[in-house]
């Protein structure tokens, strides 16, 4: 599907959706409360049929005090892709889980929880994935500090 028609269709589906400018693929921004219902529609709607969640990741915008959460979707049926992004506040990162729609989201959300500390409401088993179970803190946050880490000296 063409980018313009796809974006028009998405705005018709949910009027609060904001298309993103300066993007190499169709990309939209949506508020976190509407995310779960919108994603369900994206998968169920036959003309969209986004049946694969390729990637889920997060960005720490520490200056704006928010985590940006990115979902990269793909449709095997129509061979089009879409990037959905949403933002949660940094001090209360709570979001509904996508694992009821795509089961692979369980793993990807565990990874994001492990490294960024975003909590997912409705996730069946939210544990750490890569780091040790007794790890303290979330290392990909920009303000993460650790006794193990070395600061770069000035001469290096």
């Amino acid at each position: 599907m063409e980018t313009q028609t796809l974006l028009e269709k998405l705005t018709a589906l949910e009027p609060t959706v904001m298309p993103r400018e300066k993007s190499d693929c169709p990309a939209i921004t949506i508020s976190p409360e509407l995310l779960l219902g919108f994603m369900k529609k994206l998968k169920a709607e036959p003309s969209l049929a986004f049946n694969i969640l390729c990637t889920h990741t997060a960005i720490d915008w520490i200056a704006e005090n928010r985590f940006e959460l990115i979902y990269q979707l793909y449709s095997l049926e129509h061979a089009h892709s879409l990037r959905v992004s949403t933002s949660v506040p940094r001090d209360n990162p709570l979001l509904s889980s996508m694992s009821s729609i795509w089961r692979i989201a369980q793993w990807q959300e565990r990874e994001v929880y492990d490294l960024f500390g975003v909590l997912y409401h409705g996730h069946p088993d939210l544990r750490r994935l890569f780091l040790e179970d007794d790890w303290k803190g979330f290392p990909l946050r920009k303000d993460y500090q650790d006794d193990f880490m070395l600061e770069k000296p000035e001469w290096a």
């Binding site: 290392p139 993460y144 880490m149």
Partner: protein, 226 residues
């Protein structure tokens, strides 16, 4: 194994000494054992990142051929190996496993650390929450091979250094004594352009054949073009 016609003395002229007039042979057991150990190192395939491609695959494949140094029998089990080649980054989760693998290896065991990550943490030394800064924080290392990743030639140089170390050791009198670890960098003076020139020559000689020219010279099919 059947008896060989050729006396053993001719095979190992430096290690064996015949007694004049007798059928006895004197030999230094140290040297015999070291010779055997140094020339049949069995490496454990332990590759955690990109150095493994260079060390395990490029060095082991036929072009460079690890088998020339008697170290081609790579083993997936630590109990059958005596050389641990650490090829890659060691992270905190991997460190206990590496220690276990080292402890499972039978004595005598040798360790080569290849690449900057295994030596010091490499590019991950600063601001990393998980990379171990050098494999020698966990297990003793015998030979360090620098490079990111090292070329197969550099790895061979490290292997030859290890063989030299083993051959110099005193196996019988002081078993289990570790020698000081060494840094096996290729000797200075070998430049990149020199290696490239050599490689180009090798390619031209072995990989590319000018069919027409070769036929005119009579190298191919054994006959000259009339």
């Amino acid at each position: 194994m059947g008896l060989t016609r050729e006396p053993l003395i001719h095979k190992f002229p430096f290690y064996l000494e015949p007694i004049p007039g007798g059928s006895l042979v004197l030999a230094s057991l140290d040297k015999m054992i070291n010779w055997a150990r140094a020339n049949s190192l069995w490496p454990l395939t332990f590759g955690t990142s990109c150095c493994a491609i260079e060390v395990m695959m490029a060095a082991g494949a036929s072009h460079h051929d690890l088998a020339r140094f008697g170290a081609e029998v790579t083993r997936p089990s630590p109990r059958q190996a005596d050389l641990l080649v650490i090829a890659g980054t060691i992270v905190k989760r991997m460190a206990p496993r590496l220690r276990t693998l080292y402890e499972q290896m039978a004595e005598p065991r040798y360790v080569i650390a290849t690449g900057s990550c295994a030596i010091s943490g490499g590019p991950f030394i600063y601001h990393s929450y998980t990379t171990i800064r050098g494999a020698d924080e966990i297990i003793p290392v015998d030979v360090y091979v620098p490079g990111c990743p090292p070329r197969p030639e550099e790895f061979f140089y490290g292997l030859l250094t290890l063989q030299k170390m083993i051959k110099e050791g005193e196996t019988i009198r002081k078993p289990g004594v570790r020698r000081r670890p060494v840094l096996a960098a290729l000797p200075p003076g070998i430049t990149l352009s020199q290696i490239q020139k050599e490689f180009q020559k090798l390619l031209e000689e072995k990989a590319c054949v000018n069919m027409q020219e070769a036929q005119e010279k009579g190298k191919i099919f054994g006959r000259k073009k009339e």
